[in-house]
């Protein structure tokens, strides 16, 4: 068995004899090298597309996000406009008016109203039943009392949606037109008198209705419409919302260390091998402005911290192990080399100003949100030590720099970061919400300066938890 106490001396022998060994110039190899250099020098340089690519990716993603948000928001608005029967140009046609009549317009009286489509269908069903029942009934006899009633209601300014429905019902009940389900108002020619009366009433109603609809669209009072989408109830607020979030996020930090050139690959590997993630977290607050369509703009302050463990290899020391027999008599001594590892902890702190664009879907109990944007770094501070570029000495990450150069190896400002999140927020009450938001943050630039031989970058994944307070 090899004498283990000589292990260090054994290594030392090779080190001292070979480490600085010089075999003399190898000039017989120069010719080949020279040829290769010439060949490489002639080949064209590949342009560095790094920044252009990054910018294109960022703008494409942002544009796509914004377009998607607007598109969804437009669809939802358009749908709600269609349902309320508001004409695109602001005018209300006769047909439109009848559409409106079939819907519960007076929302001030009905805070939460069933879907107009559902309501419309229900009415039609009733109407079809009525049609069957009253097929042969006298049209005039039905119309007159109702119109009179409407006129009196209109005169007293108390027209109600239920009355409009009845008018529709009357028309549908006319001889020719069970197809008035398509909202076509066709009056039997034989009932001219009734039609004239009806038309004059309709004009009055139309004027009144336009006023009512315009007052509805311009109203600043809060209204909610419950749209039944399967099992979810979706609220579309007519108002802009303001909210303030306070959050804390435990995070996982993923680091990449890349050598800028061939010579520092070993250094990069040495750092990667001796340092490891130990913990990360973020906390902060942000203010949000949410449009009625669900488009959200957010900004605030985000403070994040990454902690890493650094195993500093100081060298080896000889360890002596004495083996005893049952009678406690030493029978053998074993020597072995033990690595001396000193554990150090490094901290990286970032203060960012996020500028986020998002889209919110407001449900009865939850608010879903999709957010993306940029974080503008306000300051970055570091503490601790890492192995220096010479692979031997330790450098202080808070202040280390190249000799005679003031720029530190680790930047005081790391620039922009990409931020994204998906929020599932629970409504505690009308104003307070619990936040649960998986987040991702990627610093576009390395935290290391151009003078440092490595590029050190971070990607952070976390779950933001906190509270949101809505001001409305």
């Amino acid at each position: 068995m090899m004498d283990q106490k000589n292990e260090q001396e054994f290594d030392k022998l090779f080190r001292t004899k070979l480490n600085q060994l010089d075999l003399g110039p190898q000039m017989h190899l120069w010719e080949n090298i020279e040829l290769e250099i010439d060949k490489n020098a002639r080949s064209s340089k590949i342009l560095g597309f790094g920044w252009y690519t990054r910018l294109i990716v960022i703008f494409t993603l942002l544009s796509f996000g914004i377009i998607l948000a607007y598109k969804t928001s437009f669809k939802s608005d358009h749908k709600s406009n269609q349902n309320t029967g508001i004409a695109a140009d602001g005018n209300t046609s006769k047909n439109d008016l009848f559409k409106n009549e079939l819907e519960p317009i007076d929302q001030t009286e009905n805070q939460l109203i069933e879907s107009p489509i559902v309501s419309k269908n229900n009415q039609y069903n009733t109407q079809v039943a009525d049609i069957q029942k009253n097929k042969h009934n006298n049209f005039i006899s039905l119309v007159n009392p109702i119109l009179n009633k409407n006129n009196s209601n209109l005169n007293s300014g108390k027209a109600k949606s239920s009355n409009f429905s009845k008018i529709s019902e009357v028309n549908i009940g006319s001889e020719k037109n069970e197809k008035t389900l398509n909202n076509e108002v066709v009056v039997n020619e034989s009932k001219v008198e009734s039609r004239d009366l009806n038309n004059s009433t309709l004009e009055l109603l139309q004027k009144k209705e336009i006023k009512k609809l315009s007052s509805l669209t311009n109203s600043s009072k809060t209204r909610k419409r419950d749209i039944r989408d399967g099992c979810f109830s979706r609220n579309i607020s007519r108002l802009n919302q303001f909210a303030l979030d306070v959050y804390y996020s435990p995070e996982i930090s993923m680091r990449t260390i890349v050598s800028k050139d061939e010579s520092n690959i070993l250094y990069a590997q040495k750092r990667a091998g001796s340092e490891a993630y130990n913990g990360a977290s973020s906390f902060g607050f942000r203010a949000s402005y949410v449009t009625p369509g669900g488009l959200a703009l957010r900004t605030g302050i985000n403070f994040s911290k990454i902690k890493e463990k650094f195993d500093y290899f100081k060298g080896t020391e000889k360890k002596q192990v004495i083996i005893f027999d049952q009678n406690r008599n030493p029978i053998d001594t074993i020597y072995s080399d033990v690595e001396i590892i000193e554990q150090k902890y490094n901290t990286y702190k970032f203060l960012d100003l996020p500028i986020i664009v998002g889209y919110e879907i407001d449900l009865t109990d939850f608010v879903f949100s999709f957010n993306g944007g940029l974080g503008i770094n306000l300051s970055s501070t570091y503490s601790g030590q890492v192995t220096g570029p010479d692979l031997k000495k330790l450098i202080d990450i808070s202040s280390a720099s190249q000799d005679n150069v003031e720029t530190p190896y680790f930047k005081k400002n790391v620039g922009l970061s990409l931020m994204g999140s998906f929020g599932l927020n629970y409504k505690i009450n009308g104003r307070l919400m619990l936040l649960a938001e998986p987040t991702i943050r990627y610093y576009l630039n390395p935290i290391t300066s151009n003078d440092y031989p490595l590029e050190q970058k971070y990607l952070q994944l976390g779950i933001s938890t906190g509270l949101r307070y809505r001001f409305y």
Binding site: M1, M2, D3, N6, E7, E9, F10, D11, L13, F14, R15, K17, L18, N19, Q20, L21, D22, L23, G24, P25, Q26, M27, L29, W30, N32, I33, E34, E36, I37, N40, A41, K260, D261, E262, S263, N264, I265, L266, Y267, Q269, K270, A272, G273, S274, D311, F313, E339, I341, P389, D390, L391, K392, Q402, D403, N404, V405, D451, P453
Partner: protein
């Protein structure tokens, strides 16, 4: 010629500066290459490949450290890359693992560098790289594990085995005191 002038000349594409730089450093770097190679031919290939990289990347050299250290790191890295490429890790050792007798430390002193280089060259490639990185370059097992993409335990065991194989070879070369 001053080293800074040589670097400037190399950056300007001056052939004589490049030749001068190669002239100054090729001897030491050849010694490094031999430690990571099986034979002289392979070492020469490594040296050529490394110096081409040196000249192509000299612009990225920060003039704050030793140029020799910088070139040396390129040579070591090129050697390790070649080792990965050829996937020598699974190669089994050629000789028996247990040394036949104890080698006294005084036996090493009389050995010259060529003998030591020959001994290292005969090591299986996995052992050779680990031994070079640990015993000569001064890396820890954790760092070697990262560099070679192996487990720390593998690095430790390969080092132990490398030492044993070297000891056996020293004994066999009859330059030992029994």
């Amino acid at each position: 010629m001053d080293l800074n002038d040589i670097i400037k000349g190399c950056l300007a594409g001056n052939k004589s500066s490049q030749k001068e730089l190669f002239n100054r450093l090729s001897g030491k770097m050849m010694a490094v290459c031999l430690r990571y190679s099986r034979d002289k031919m392979e070492a020469e290939d490594l040296l050529q490949e490394s110096f081409i990289k040196v000249f192509m990347n000299l612009a990225s050299f920060k003039n704050d450290g030793s140029l020799e250290m910088w070139v040396r790191r390129i040579v070591i890295n090129t050697s390790i890359k070649r080792y990965h490429k050829l996937s020598y890790q699974n190669e089994s050792p050629s000789s028996d693992m247990m040394p036949e007798t104890i080698v006294q430390s005084s036996a090493y002193d009389s050995m010259i560098y060529t003998e030591l280089l020959d001994l290292i060259a005969e090591l299986p490639d996995g052992y050779k790289v680990v031994f070079n990185l640990y015993a000569i370059e001064g890396f820890s097992h954790k760092e070697i594990a990262e560099i070679l993409n192996i487990k720390e335990a593998t690095s430790r065991s390969q080092l132990v085995k490398a030492r044993v194989v070297l000891q056996n070879k020293i004994i066999k070369s009859q330059k030992v005191v029994i």
